[in-house]
């Protein structure tokens, strides 16, 4: 036991005193922050798209102007919904505030109505966020009256005479012509941007709404009738049948964003597990390869058995990865506290409750232990067969491809955890630690959890046994990667050969 402890301690100290460990600790949060910043930056830096309309008359231009005002109101309402969710406002109160917002005639009145309903339930830090959302699109007067004249503006050779920096450019032009026998106009959308469909979709919806209203008016409906029809909103509310049995009243059975949190937390945990397993497994391989190439294994073997060395290394590097996870956990807790103080108490609390769910944590811990032992022992055994980086890379490449599979599957599993092929893949032992975690939030049956744990236990046992054989062969008999197949193949036939020493 003492040998195992000493080897584990040396492994642990060797890694935690290396720069790579500290880089790994800060890499994940840095990438997380960068990802958030880039996402936020992309959302906030979306410029106001200027467009011009060429129309004989102004009937449809007025329709689009009205839609622009409504778009700002809709965007503002979405933002208020997000604020309500993040701040932890009760769902019924948020719904009442939303109805008051909808009923108000303009954006300022709508904001005031929302504020009146919510009252002082909203944290003071979020009061300043209660303002109209910025406009996404802006209609400008066409600098030319034909598409030929507008072409230089659309392709950036000319800019508009006034407006903001981005507004200086003409993003798109809409050519509207009356079409005989048709209620709506014939529309041509001109833009050099072929990838962002937002403005085109907005204009399309605005013209469709205008044409619908015109059609209803032609059918004899009054203005009030048409407004009433426009306010008809059939909202489908989702309910989770699994919660009925638990909750007992329909109000708390309704599905909200909080119900989706376990899936997101499960996905994050899977990614963290994957990063940790890959990081430490790679560390193990490189460490053993260094010991073999530096001939340290021979010295170690006179003081400890191959089994003790194998277990000591696995334990030492497991401690390294636990330190990593603990560091990331502390950072996440710090970030959560900071976010809560900034008005995201509701979402932070929900996320924390989900993450600290004993069942999910139990599955995460199980997945981590078995995943680590499976992949760790595999990489350690491979390291004992390698003396150079090239040898290690040639052995690692196929394993890395295999390890990429859970990441790809995770994307599908988030929206369709019940897909048959995902269920089947989760029973393939090398994927089980990851996919079990991905599927857990959708609700795994007890027999599935027990079955997967048993499967991982057996697979890990077999993997450790095989790793022990290969490690002994690599360390004691100095077999290399090229001998691996021969070694495993001949074990049941005849003794493997190795280079005799002097």
């Amino acid at each position: 036991m003492r040998e195992i402890f000493l080897i584990a301690r040396r492994e642990y100290l060797a890694y935690v005193t290396a720069w790579g460990f500290w880089l790994q600790i800060i890499a994940l949060p840095i990438f997380g922050i960068l990802g958030g910043l880039v996402g936020g930056l992309a959302a906030n830096s979306d410029p106001v798209r200027s467009f011009a309309i060429i129309e004989t008359g102004s009937e449809w231009t007025q329709v689009i102007d009205a839609a622009l005002v409504k778009d700002i109101k809709d965007q503002t309402e979405d933002k208020l919904d997000e604020i309500a969710l993040n701040s932890g406002l009760p769902e019924d109160l948020a719904e009442q505030a939303g109805e008051a917002f909808d009923a108000a005639p303009d954006i300022e009145a709508a904001l005031a109505a929302w504020r009146n309903v919510v009252g002082d339930r909203l944290p003071a830090s979020l009061q300043s966020a209660l303002k109209p959302a910025p406009a996404r699109f802006r209609r400008v007067a066409p600098p030319e009256t034909s598409i030929e004249g507008l072409r230089p503006f659309l392709i950036g050779e000319k800019t508009l005479a006034n407006g903001t920096k981005e507004g200086d450019k003409l993003y798109a032009a809409l050519i509207l012509n009356s079409k005989p026998g048709s209620i709506g106009p014939e529309a041509q959308y001109w833009s050099a941007n072929l990838t962002n469909p937002a403005l085109r979709q907005f204009l399309n919806a605005a013209l469709y709404d205008g044409a619908r209203e015109k059609s209803l008016s032609n059918a004899g409906l009054t203005r009030d009738n048409i407004t009433a029809i426009g306010k008809i909103n059939t909202r489908i509310k989702s309910f989770n049948p699994k919660r009925v049995a638990e909750a007992g009243n329909s109000a708390s059975q309704a599905v909200t964003f909080r119900d989706q949190l376990p899936f997101i937390v499960g996905m994050i945990m899977t990614y963290v597990l994957w990063s940790a397993v890959l990081g430490v497994a790679n560390t193990l391989l490189m460490g053993v390869m260094e010991e073999r190439s530096n001939k340290i294994l021979d010295t170690l073997l006179t003081s400890a058995s191959p089994g003790q060395i194998l277990i000591g290394k696995l334990a030492g590097v497991a401690a390294v990865s636990l330190s990593l996870l603990a560091s990331w956990g502390i950072m996440a807790a710090g970030a959560g506290m900071w976010a809560a103080s900034g008005g995201a108490a509701g979402i932070v609390q929900s996320a924390a409750e989900t993450a600290f769910n004993p069942a999910l944590l139990g599955i995460f811990a199980t997945g981590f232990i078995f995943g680590y032992l499976m992949y760790g022992s595999m990489f350690l055994a491979m390291g004992s067969l390698c003396e150079t980086l090239q040898e290690a890379q040639s052995l690692m490449t196929p394993i890395l491809f295999v390890m990429m599979a859970p990441l790809l599957v995770m994307v599908f599993a988030l929206s369709n955890p019940d897909l048959a092929w995902i269920k089947i893949m989760s029973w393939i032992p090398i994927f089980t630690p990851f996919l079990m975690l991905v599927r857990a939030p959708a609700g795994l049956e007890s027999w599935e959890i027990l079955g997967m744990m048993a499967l991982m236990l057996v697979t890990t046992g077999v993997m450790l046994w095989l790793a022990g054989l290969v490690f002994r062969a690599g360390a004691l008999r100095r077999l290399n990667a090229a001998d691996l197949g021969r070694f495993l193949g001949v074990r049941t036939k005849k003794p493997a050969s190795a280079t005799p020493e002097s």
């Binding site: 340290i296 006179t302 400890a304 005799p500 020493e501 002097s502």
Partner: protein, 313 residues
């Protein structure tokens, strides 16, 4: 006293190729034993079997009164032929680590590491990383790591290879010190002078088999004696040697610029030296030099293993 180590009909092969064949020898306590043989003789395989890294296919090894096992291996120190240390570890930490693996407590291992480095002249380098040490220093650190737990029996596989003369001398001192403290040492070497200077006994193997075991003096007695003779040029040295039944080792060498001739003459017995000198005097040979030569282990090696065998690891 029971031997510290004994091999009894030990054999080991790899994939059908024998590395060690029915090898039997023993090492007495408190002695320094040289383990000599040409390349591929089976020395490293034998030493790795003693260190418990390999198990013999046949025969028995007894180490400190028992087969090599966890307990007995804790009482030995082993320096493998192919050496290496953790490059990013400090010199004192490396010695303390291997000392602790052999059973020393953490505090004792650190104390012992400091003492050994001071005694070995590396006190000033004890906090340096292994990768910053010279090759000689790193090898010294490794042998100190092998003896950190003050083992009863020390096995050194080619301890002098790759060392400069100063460090070789320093290593010899370490071996002498071990013997002076009553420890037993078994080492393989391809430098016969080291074996001659340090060993009480030697075991010589070739092609996996033992060809000699015994004391150094006993080994030297097996070596052919000779005498170096120089006379003025023109003297019929060859004729005298032929008529008196002496044989030459090599040919008579003529050194024209000094006007002399030189020959090495084989002496079959100790009395041959006196008989040769008497014959030369009687023939009134113009002697410039008559030097009976002391036999060396290299000569024993060549005689027992053959001219073509390289005395290496």
């Amino acid at each position: 006293m029971d031997p510290v180590l004994s091999f009894d009909q030990v054999s080991k092969s790899y994939g059908g190729a024998p590395a060690v064949r029915e090898l039997s020898f023993s090492v007495a306590p408190g002695t320094v034993c040289g383990f000599l043989g040409p390349n591929g003789a089976g020395k490293s395989t034998s030493l790795r079997m003693i260190a418990g890294i390999h198990a013999p296919d046949a025969g028995t090894i007894r180490l400190l009164g028992a087969p090599p096992n966890h307990k007995t291996l804790k009482r030995i120190g082993f320096l493998p032929e192919e050496r290496g240390l953790y490059k990013k570890m400090r010199a004192d930490a490396a010695i303390a680590y291997f000392g602790a693996l052999k059973g020393l407590s953490g505090a004792d291992a650190r104390k012992r590491a400091r003492e050994l480095l001071e005694a070995g002249g590396l006190g000033a380098h004890r906090r340096k990383l292994v990768k910053t040490l010279s090759k000689g220093m790193a090898q010294k650190v490794q042998i100190l790591a092998a003896i950190a737990h003050d083992p009863e029996f020390v096995i050194l596989d080619e301890p002098f290879s790759g060392l400069d003369p100063v460090n070789q001398k320093s290593f010899e001192e370490i071996v002498r010190d071990l013997r002076a403290r009553g420890r037993t040492v078994l080492f393989s070497t391809h430098v016969m002078e080291h074996a001659e200077r340090l060993c009480d006994s030697i075991v010589l193997i070739a092609k996996g088999r033992k060809v000699f075991e015994g004391g150094v003096e006993e080994a030297l007695a097996l070596a052919p004696r000779s005498a170096l003779v120089e006379t003025d040029a023109g003297f019929d040295l060859a004729g005298i040697l032929t008529t008196r039944n002496f044989s030459l080792r090599g040919a008579i060498l003529s050194v024209a610029e000094q006007n002399l001739q030189r020959a090495e003459i084989v002496l079959e017995t100790d009395s041959d030296s006196r008989r040769l000198l008497a014959a030369l005097v009687e023939a009134q040979a113009p002697l410039r030099l008559f030097e009976p030569r002391k036999p060396h282990l290299h000569d024993v090696f060549v005689r027992l293993v053959g001219e073509n065998a390289t005395p290496a690891g």
